[in-house]
């Protein structure tokens, strides 16, 4: 322990390295779990729970008799009556039927908790649930309810028994909608009879997918951050203890029991790791807090939910955050003790030169790398799941980390042998660099990985964005989209739009969800007109594609469907007709289209076929082809003449803007994190070099004694680090691209069912490299100058007294 008092600067940097690594990891992790919690809060909003609902075709209230009819026909539904409190307009009252609603999982689970509350609710009938705030604002309104506080509910939502709600709202025998508590049967004739229709609360599903992608992004980042952090911890501790081998050997030789030496080492390393770790948690908390407003903004933007601005450190987070430095320190102590054990006393000098063992290890490492590469390759050829994709990315990082020192060493050794004796100083310089690689390879690795991860993720984000934009551009084929809620308006539109001179053309779109192979699948009916043929993006198609869609025999599928079932062009699919349960309809797949931000499989077919076999409902969505300049007059016409609401008219550019905004916000955090990762990695370089400066001194002093001026040595020293770091950074590019490749082609497919086309963005790489080089340059300059600032006499004394 005394060691550290003699070298306070080294100690400082050691702790700094440890805490920064922990900070990086814990902040990512903190943000991740916070975002998740916040999202779960948002989902508690009962009314917005993702579900399938049944409403009246005419948007009226539904007579309660339909409930029994539906149940008898095998539909698992629960009735809901929703309305504003007559006496206080800001409060929404939700009437539920407790028995049937408890069949659903998730829905209201938080409400009843254990069975006790449910029993109370069923028996008493006059219990009301609401958040405290709601109860306060209800005040003493004479509702005749016995209020029970439930903070999982949104403010201004009051839940009570449906019979009670009927009375309060004055809608005797009527309900607003049914919610499905089980999968919808494929026979939908009963809906027609009762004049009802099945609707999916799509918006919620879309949102969920966006968050999922957001989380996946952060999780992937968390994994990468963990690995980089581990490297940093490992390399920091490794160097610190490498220097002390001699002390340990001396202790052993004067008879201190081996075990004492080992336990004290272990304890010391653990204490260091924990100290650094705890400081790191605070730093991480601070970092996360400064980033959190961004995250909150993103989520608020996406959900319109109001997330608190407070980050909470829970025991779990603290535990996870400390896991990394502790794991790293355990790894390093095992390694270190093994090394000590192997080291015979006469090999003491080994520490000055970097270990000889390294020479033999190179073959072992190379073969390990090759085996891992083979494994990765095998993994990529078979089908890839989410876990496997993470695993592959992890493997890639390990392979890159193993290969980096080998490449550096082999490359430099080749150079050494090619110049040999002619230029003695250059020869020394290169040989010395080879040795230097051994010592700083771990921190070079940390730097390379940090940069590679940044390049990989940035490249993916950019790739994603660009593709997404192009796709949006193509997919939003017309200027205006109309999405109406009820069939009356739709009918008006269909009959009237023909005669509007402002509307060049309009294309109805209709869709519903069916179950295919027991999984929810969307089928879409559309009119395969010229405008689609020209614009609709397809990743796979042939000459017959559009002809087959037009004659109704062919369908298009989305990528998700393609990856899910492995069905491609030319394959036949058979779907159950919903209008005629006995009939199976045969289609041939004739094209595949990209469908970002969607998780469900989707089938697009001619609208005639759709209406023949699935639903005769009037389409509610329309694409309107207009002159872009006439957008204002068209929307005015739609508002005034057809009675549409603002929200029912969607401007193409608005969608684009909105999507881009969500997108940018989602990835703003990733960017901030990857930047801090680079900063931390360059700081590791700094820590390493400071720790190393004494070993370096022992290496350089013989040259100074020979008569090489110190300023020359300083130049060499700088040149050497610069060279190594530049090579390292250069190697980070292919590694980053590989990571990007696995992220886009495997992780994405596994998670979302679509593949991003891979593109290169050299500008991003250069930008990242520049930042990293600049950081490294500062990291190099500081310790080198520190090292040469000492008076020359001190240099020789120090070096002679050292060890």
């Amino acid at each position: 322990m005394k060691h550290w008092f003699r070298k306070p600067l080294q100690f400082l940097f050691l702790i700094m390295g440890l805490s920064l690594a922990t900070a990086l990891w814990s902040s990512i992790q903190l943000l991740n779990s916070q975002a998740k919690n916040s999202y779960e809060d948002a989902v508690k909003i009962l009314t917005e729970y993702e579900t399938e609902i049944i409403i009246s075709k005419k948007n009226n209230l539904i007579p309660i008799e339909s409930f029994a009819k539906l149940r008898r026909a095998g539909w698992l539904v629960t009735p809901i009556l929703e309305g504003k409190l007559p006496s206080q307009n800001s409060i929404t009252i939700l009437g539920i039927e407790p028995i049937s609603i408890s069949e659903s999982n998730g829905l209201l689970n938080g409400l009843f908790g254990n069975g006790e509350k449910l029993k109370e609710f069923v028996i008493k009938k006059n219990v009301g649930f609401a958040a405290q705030e709601t109860i306060n604002s209800l005040g003493k309104l004479p509702l005749g309810l016995q209020m029970s506080v439930n903070e999982s509910l949104l403010t201004n939502v009051l839940i009570t028994d449906i019979s009670k709600a009927e009375k309060i709202l004055g809608h005797q025998g009527l309900i607003s909608r049914f919610e499905l508590t089980g999968p919808a049967p494929n026979n939908r004739q009963i809906l027609e009879k009762l004049d009802l229709r099945l609707v999916h609360s799509n918006s919620q599903a879309d949102l969920e997918q966006l968050t999922e992608s957001f989380h996946l992004n952060l999780s992937a980042f968390g994994l990468l951050g963990f690995i980089v952090g581990l490297f940093i911890v490992y390399s920091t501790l490794n160097l610190a203890f490498e220097q002390r081998k001699t002390t340990y050997m001396a202790l052993r030789s004067i008879g201190v029991p081996v075990r004492t030496v080992y336990t004290s080492t272990l304890i010391e390393i653990l204490v260091l790791a924990l100290t650094g770790g705890v400081i790191g948690i605070f730093l991480g908390h601070w970092l996360a807090s400064s980033l959190f407003p961004d995250v909150a903004a993103t989520l608020n933007h996406i959900y319109g939910a109001n997330l608190g601005n407070q980050l909470v450190l829970s025991m779990r987070e603290i535990f996870l955050a400390l896991l990394m430095p502790v794991l790293g320190s355990l790894l390093i102590s095992t390694n270190f003790i093994l090394k000590l054990h192997k080291m015979a006393p006469q090999n003491l000098n080994a520490l000055v030169a970097g270990s000889k063992l390294y020479h033999n290890k190179i073959k072992l490492k190379l073969s390990t790398a090759l085996i891992l590469m083979g494994l990765t390759f095998v993994l990529t050829t078979s089908s890839v799941g989410l876990f496997k994709s993470f695993f592959i990315i992890g493997l890639t990082i390990i392979i890159a980390a193993t290969l980096l020192p080998i490449i550096l060493r082999v490359g430099l050794s080749l150079l050494v042998s090619s110049i040999k004796k002619k230029l003695p100083l250059l020869h020394w310089f290169l040989s010395d660099s080879v040795h230097q690689v051994n010592r700083i390879s771990l921190s070079l690795n940390a730097l390379m990985l940090a940069v590679a991860v940044t390049i990989g993720v940035d490249n993916m984000v950019k790739n994603f964005k660009e593709t997404f934009n192009i796709w949006l551009e193509k997919r939003l084929i017309t200027e205006v989209y109309v999405k109406v809620e009820d069939q009356n308006k739709a009918e008006l539109l269909i009959n009237g739009l023909h005669n509007e001179h402002l509307v060049k053309n309009f294309y109805p779109i209709t869709s519903l969800k069916i179950s295919f192979n027991n999984q929810l699948t969307t089928i879409v009916g559309f009119k395969p007109a010229e405008i689609y043929i020209k614009n609709w993006p397809l990743v796979k198609s042939n000459e017959q594609t559009w002809k087959e869609v037009q004659n109704g025999k062919g369908v298009l599928i989305n990528e998700q469907f393609f990856y899910k079932y492995g069905l491609g062009i030319g394959d036949i699919i058979k779907l159950d007709s919903l209008l005629n349960p006995e009939k199976k309809v045969r289609y041939q797949i004739v094209g595949i289209y990209p469908d970002y931000g969607n998780r469900l499989g989707q089938i697009m077919m001619n609208i005639h076929s759709f209406q023949e076999y699935y639903s005769k409902d009037i389409p509610l969505n329309f694409a309107l082809e207009i002159d872009p300049r006439s957008y204002d007059s068209v929307s005015e016409m739609l508002l005034n003449k057809y009675g549409l609401l603002d929200v029912e008219i969607i401007n193409q550019s608005t969608i684009k803007e909105f999507s881009t905004q969500i997108f940018d916000r989602t990835f703003a955090i990733t960017n901030a994190l990857s930047d801090s990762m680079i900063v931390v990695a360059t700081l590791t370089i700094l820590t390493t070099l400071i720790t190393l400066s004494e070993i370096r001194l022992a290496n350089l002093t013989p040259l100074w004694v020979l008569g090489i001026p110190r300023i020359t040595l300083l130049k060499f020293e700088l040149a050497q680090f610069l060279m190594l770091i530049l090579i390292t950074l250069f190697l980070a590019i292919p590694t980053g691209l590989l990571i990007c490749h696995f992220l886009t082609s495997y992780l994405n497919v596994a998670a979302f069912g679509w593949k991003l086309p891979f593109q290169f963005y050299p500008l991003i790489w250069i930008q990242t490299l520049l930042i990293a080089s600049l950081g490294s340059l500062i990291a190099i300059l500081f310790p080198s100058i520190l090292m040469f600032k000492n008076s020359p006499a001190l240099m020789i004394r120090r070096y002679k007294n050292d060890s």
Binding site: W428, S431, D432, V705, G707, I711
Partner: protein
Amino acid sequence: MEPLVKVNDLSKSFESSGEIFQVFEELSFSLAQNSATALIGESGSGKTTLINILAGLEPPSSGMVMIARNEIWNYREPDRARFRLKNMAVIFQQYNLIPSLNVSSNISLHSQLIDNWDQSFQDELIKLFGLKNLLMKYPEEISGGQQQRVAIARSVLTKPKILLADEPTGNLDEENTMSVLKAFEMLLERCKSTILVATHSKSVASKIKSKLILESGRAKK
């Protein structure tokens, strides 16, 4: 003939924890060109310190050091280093070698740096010191005595004007000590070098006629 090394009123003191410790005071002596001198004195008498000062590695507290008419302590540090590179060779007790170069490169480095490399002389020295089998090894892989011999071979190979050696035979057996003395003789004969050897070894001291004795801060010839 004018002496190659002239030392006048050389004093050296160290200041440690507030106290001033005088190693030697007003030391004056000279070393003739093409001569060998043994530097003798008990442990702690200042031999290493003197050699460091002569080599230009550690500054004296006062006094003058003149080597081949160069007053080395008036030079700027880089010039002093270059002067050392060209004219001197220094052998220490330990850690003379460059860890990242193998034995062969270590031996040739200095002479190559001053463009003074002589293949046949190198072969001769390698044979003399029995280093043939070690050439491809790295310093960490050879013993202390072997390292010492490599360092001596390197220094001799540069054919220096002045060779400063601090206990060069400390780690060596009798046979190797004889080889070292033989190599010094070669330098004296072929290169007209001037040699100063700090040593505790009786056998080395007995082979070198001229002696410089450090005793309680004074020098005796």
